[in-house]
């Protein structure tokens, strides 16, 4: 069920509201995470991946971004989708 604000907000603005804060948070999270852990120490499930450190940092950044995007989507959903419930004038 889409509420009025959900319909009123342009899609581009929704994209910015989700992508941009998560991008900033991903930069901070990547910085903090990799200052504590060396890419060498992070071998998931004992896989023998031959990745350069730059690749590990980049993939790490995108994982953090993705997590942030999920969080942002959740916030957007809970803020917009049902906030008009029970307050309709009609």
């Amino acid at each position: 069920m889409e509420s009025a604000p959900f319909r009123a907000m342009p899609r581009s603005q929704m994209a910015i509201a989700v992508l941009w804060p998560s991008f900033v948070v991903a930069i901070v999270a990547t910085g903090l995470f990799f200052s504590a852990f060396h890419p060498r120490e992070l071998v998931p499930f004992n896989l023998d991946l031959d990745l350069s450190p730059l690749a590990v940092y980049s993939v790490g950044f995108f994982i953090f971004w993705l997590i942030g995007i999920f969080c942002g989507l959740g916030t957007l959903y809970f803020t917009l989708v049902n906030c008009g419930a029970g307050q309709r004038e009609d």
């Binding site: 009123a8 450190p53 730059l54 307050q87």
Partner: protein, 463 residues
């Protein structure tokens, strides 16, 4: 609770975007902004070209996990400095906002700086405001397509240079240029160059003021740092109203008019497309383009300048202005304190680290000489730019003996060296089952280069 879910303001916030064509402006503040743009872009594009001690002067070497900033080499252990630097940047923003309003937005924000540069290119290729508007409204002629293609080519080339420079902060510039010329750039380097180029192209070419309006958190919370003594760009309604057009040389007072001739040039020059005459608005980035524009008009009309000007709320209300107020002094004090902390900790920073790990296989061992021995693995991290030779001593137990496999401890610049150290002590000299000993590492060639690390010494214990 018959409240509407959408207020007019929120509707306005999400209004469909209409393209803004800022008119070119000249004047005192425009010159200041051009100067700021040239200096800041100069710093950005030239810094990776600087050399220091045979390496790039500023390099954030991610694969090697070392940050080089001129003579300083920072390790992941020095993360605290980065955090302090960010807090410092945040506090300076608070301080300067309280004093001078949104000077950051108008003159120094990367969004403003790159937008100015892209607007300049746009102007050179597509012409002035009315020419650009005509071009966009006009039919898709060959000439129009040529002009647009030229603009986007120039923009994209400039963006690619920007992206390349950005990656050169992380991968040495000469190495990167080499790889580019031999077309052997790694996938991730290419990706980040393109990513940053695309972001610049999009933000400075298309998004422009929308970044300030929709994406910038500072635009939303800067009002919390404002007070009645903060410098703002404001229109003087008492002097300007009622606005209206008039013949040049006519006395406005006789016609019942104020000084504003309603030429709307202040609106045309505004990069965020607002009318400053409607009062202070959050969209205003205090770029002062409207001040320059209005001053020029006032000069033409032979009216005094300053119908739109930098002022404070107190000044417009005729109240006295106060520069030094508690808010400013508190911000200044915190700023000074932080600067002092950062400077002193950088000056006192010892580029040497010692890690001691006790051998976990055996608690202790009896030597043939009847002494108790503990074994430790030592990791010496030389964070300095030079190689050093160190002397290791231990203390904490009377007459203890320190045995090293190799007493000559030399560690090359920026490397870690591991060595095994054994401490032997007489059982009768031990105070308890587990007591603390300290390793003292001292550089032979420098008195200041020393560090102490504590460890546990375990013995059989006495009854």
């Amino acid at each position: 609770m018959q409240e509407k879910t959408l207020t007019p303001e929120t509707q306005g916030l999400y209004a469909a975007h209409r393209k803004i064509y800022p008119r070119e402006v000249s004047g005192r503040f425009a010159r200041l902004r051009v100067l700021s743009v040239v200096v800041l872009l100069g710093i950005y594009y030239l810094t990776p070209l600087l050399r220091w001690d045979g390496r790039q002067a500023v390099l954030f070497d991610l694969p090697a996990r070392k940050f080089y900033i001129f003579g300083l080499t920072l390790w992941p252990q020095d993360f605290i400095y980065l955090a302090a630097l960010l807090i410092l940047a945040g506090m300076s923003l608070f301080f300067f906002t309280a004093l001078f309003g949104r000077v950051w937005c108008g003159y120094a924000c990367p969004q403003t700086v790159w937008t100015e540069a892209y607007l300049w290119m746009e102007r050179k290729i597509e012409g002035n405001r009315s020419q650009r508007m005509k071009l966009d409204k006009g039919p898709s002629t060959a000439a129009r397509i040529r002009t647009k293609a030229l603009k986007h080519t120039v923009w994209i080339l400039f963006s690619l240079w920007t992206g390349f420079t950005f990656v050169a902060y992380f991968t040495p510039m000469d190495e990167l240029a080499d790889k580019l010329l031999t077309i052997s750039l790694g996938p991730w380097e290419s990706f980040w160059i393109l990513f940053y180029s695309f972001a610049t192209y999009g933000n400075a070419g298309f998004m422009r003021e929308q970044v300030c309006l929709y994406m910038c958190p500072y635009a939303r919370f800067q009002s919390a740092m404002f007070d009645a003594n903060t410098l703002i760009v404001a229109y003087h309604p008492e002097r300007g109203e009622p606005r209206g057009s008039r013949r040049r040389g006519a006395d406005p007072r006789q016609a019942g008019l104020g000084d504003c001739i309603d030429c709307s040039i202040c609106v045309q020059v505004c990069p965020t497309g607002i009318d400053i005459r409607e009062g202070l608005q959050y969209e205003c980035i205090a770029c002062s383009a409207c001040i320059d524009a209005c001053d020029e008009v006032m000069d033409k009309m032979s009216y005094p300048r300053g119908l739109i000007r930098y002022t404070t709320e107190n000044s417009t209300l005729g109240k006295p202005q106060r520069l030094l107020r508690p808010r400013v002094m508190i911000y200044a004090a915190i700023l000074l304190l932080l600067c002092g902390f950062l400077a002193s900790s950088l000056l006192l920073r010892v580029p040497l680290e010692l890690d001691v790990i006790r051998d976990r296989n055996a608690l202790y061992r009896d030597t043939p000489d009847g002494l108790i021995e503990n074994v430790y693995t030592l990791k010496i991290l030389n964070m300095d730019e030079k190689s050093h030779r160190y002397r290791l001593t231990a203390s904490g137990i009377d007459d203890l003996k320190l045995v090293l496999d190799n007493p000559d401890i030399e560690v090359a610049a920026g490397t870690v060296r591991q060595l095994i150290a054994r401490i032997q002590a007489d059982e009768l000299k031990l105070e308890s089952r587990s007591q603390s000993v300290s390793f003292h590492l001292q550089a032979v060639d420098s008195n200041n280069l020393q560090t102490v690390e504590e460890a546990r010494f375990v013995g059989p214990g006495r009854n």
